[in-house]
Point group: C2
Chain length 124, copies 2
Amino acid sequence: MAECQVKKSGRHEYYCSVELTLQVIGGKWKPIILYHLGRNGTHRFGELKLAIPNITQKMLTQQLRELEKDGVIDRLVYAVVPPKVEYSLTELGHTIIPVLQHLGQWGQQYEEYSREHGLSEVTV
Amino acid sequence: MAECQVKKSGRHEYYCSVELTLQVIGGKWKPIILYHLGRNGTHRFGELKLAIPNITQKMLTQQLRELEKDGVIDRLVYAVVPPKVEYSLTELGHTIIPVLQHLGQWGQQYEEYSREHGLSEVTV
DNA sequence: CGGCATCCTCACCGATACTG
DNA sequence: CAGTATCGGTGAGGATGCCG
């Protein structure tokens, strides 16, 4: 984090490792996807689609592809009709789960804190 | 994280607390700003500008304003000429530092892992 | 079932110029 | 010094339709 040079890793450009992490997990739906794969293990595409309301097929596909390219999930295609595709965390992918939990914990703290301190009111 | 309802906290809408955290720290320059404030304490605007190459005045101002609204930094304006403004972490802001460190650690692991496993080559 | 191809919108970010 | 104000590019994200 101390250095301020542009680095590259895979598809990502970043100045510090925090930024790199955020580029891997920072997609709008990626935390939720990783959460589901971490919690219940392997999922089919349709299961993820059901588990994540409001996500469109396009976005689900796109985010899954990026996570795959970044090496945090595996994609297993069965040669059957109708198609069957299963997604699961890689070894590397499992290591991100504690980080996500940490983020989640802070978010909850923040939620409470802002309720107590009246941060939650928006002046529209 | 288990629930999938839309919530609101302050300026943010989110489905899970991970998302909320990412909305607070997820701006392009926010991690770096928080890092500097966490490491060396109070900074003047110009000091931050110098410490963060490439950032524009506009972006620095904007990100600082958002961090302030979210309650993680304080803004102290001295009534002097020329103007003097100091930024520092709030109590709440300090609690985000370990989370950032965790993100940074994972990023470094990821960096090594992808070098070892040839993830770092991009097919342009 | 699990996609891909298009088209579109809008928030994010940057460059530049001006100011109390 | 520490900002605003304005304009404009760009790409992430979304809606819709077709396909093996």
